[in-house]
Each structure stands twice: as C-alpha cells, then as structure tokens.
C-alpha cells in the first residue's frame, strides 16, 4: 500500500545541514529518553520503594562502567532534547525561520547541550550537594 504511492524523484538529493542534524537528534534523543531514561527512572523508584537490597542491586548496575556510560550518554541526550525542544517551542511561536537564524539556533542547540552536560557533571562532582 504505502509502497505503491508516488515518491518525489528528488528524495536522494540533499546534503547535511546543522538544522537537519538538530531535527534527527531530537528524535534520537527523545526516544533514548523514553526507552533508556524512563525505564531506568521507573526501576530506580521501584527499587527505592521495595527494599534496601533492591536498591543496592540498582545501585550496583548504576555504578558499573556500563552504567556510567549510560548516565553520561543519557545526560547528553537529555540536554540535547531539552535545547532542541525549547527551539521547537520558540519556532512554534513563529520566530526563527529565516535561514540564517535557523542555522544559528540549531548550532546553539548542540553547543548549549554540550555545555549544559559538562555543567551538570561539574556540579555533580564538585557542587554543594552529593557527597
């Protein structure tokens, strides 16, 4: 059915632009937040509600090398999605469609996400809490 519909003959003619990258990263980060983020979030809460032992098994995984890779990746995906999500909401208001502006905000989504991720871990390790 869907296969028999006519397609544009120009679908394969395009090149990478930073605003395209923000778009596909919004999708990748959103879905990563659902399938890794929400699952781990629910497990964390369930473990805390169940017992000290259940929480210890969660903490063992969370504190493992793979766990740390996931936390760093998830924090980056979170700030990436947050930044491009805000960009979406701003563009919904009608602002930011001029080519130069759109490119500039898309670039800031990537830069901002990296800076926020770095800031998050800086506060995590050196901030006033968590010791």
């Amino acid at each position: 059915m869907a296969d028999s519909r006519p397609l544009s003959p120009h679908l394969s003619i395009w090149k990478w632009r930073v605003h395209m990258a923000t778009s596909i990263f919004h999708r990748i980060s959103g879905n990563a937040l659902v399938f890794a983020g929400l699952t781990l979030f629910a497990w964390w809460l369930a473990a805390a509600a169940t017992s000290k032992e259940a929480y210890a098994s969660f903490a063992a995984v969370a504190d493992s090398p793979i766990g740390w890779i996931v936390w760093v990746g998830l924090s980056w995906m979170f700030f990436q999605h947050l930044m491009s999500g805000i960009r979406h909401l701003i563009m919904d208001s009608g602002w930011g469609y001029a080519l130069g502006t759109s490119k500039m905000t898309a670039t800031w989504v990537f830069v901002g996400a990296i800076l926020l991720t770095a800031a998050f871990w800086a506060v995590f390790f050196f901030g006033p809490g968590l010791r």
Binding site: L33, Y55, G85, H88, D92
Partner: protein, 130 residues
Amino acid sequence: MATDFQSASGLKRVRGLGSARSGAHHWWLQRVTAAGNLVLLIWFVASVLMLPNLSHSGVTAWIAQPLVAVPLILLIFSTFWHARLGVQVMIEDYVHAEGLKLLAFIALNFFILAAGAVATFSVLAIAFGA
C-alpha cells in the same frame, strides 16, 4: 479549512479519518507536556544535584516529603504522556503496515502504562511509608 476536499468530507472528519485525523490535539498535548517536562525536570535535576547523597535512606527520605512526592507524580504523568505521544509519531513515520503499526501502538501503550504505574505506585508507597 479543508471542508471542500473530498478526502476530508464530513463523515471522515467525524470518524477522525481525514489526513489530519486527531493530529492537532496530539500536537497541542505534545507542547503542553513539553512545557510541563521543562519545568518539572529542571526542578528534578536541580533537586537531585542538591541531595546530600543518593543512598537508599537519603533518597526515600527525600521522596517521602509531600512537596517532593506531589511534583514527582506530576513529573511522571507529564513525561510518560509526552513519551507516549512522541514515540507514537515515530512509529507513524516508520511503520506503514497497518497490522504491525497497531501492534506497535499496543506495545507502546502497555509499556507506558506499566512503567508509569510502577513509578507512580513507588512514589506513593514511599510517601505513605510502606
């Protein structure tokens, strides 16, 4: 408005079968939950960073406070709802066979409701000191 088009004739629109189906409402709820996520997740991330530690006793004592448990439950509703809407769009874009699409929607809804129920119940259990 699309009222002149055959493809969006009265009955089809009532049955939600026009090309937009129930898309505008979906789009709007994605925005409302996005705003909810933004506020609640900034609160959550900042609060977790300020906790003295992430031990079992520390975390449960934190969640047990009403002014933590209530926003946490709001956060669960907002993020899980937003997630359901968002993943649905992804499925609609990539899964075109009707049967497979239906299965994917059902699996998505089961996952969201199950994980959301576990998360909500856990917060309540901690808050009411189970």
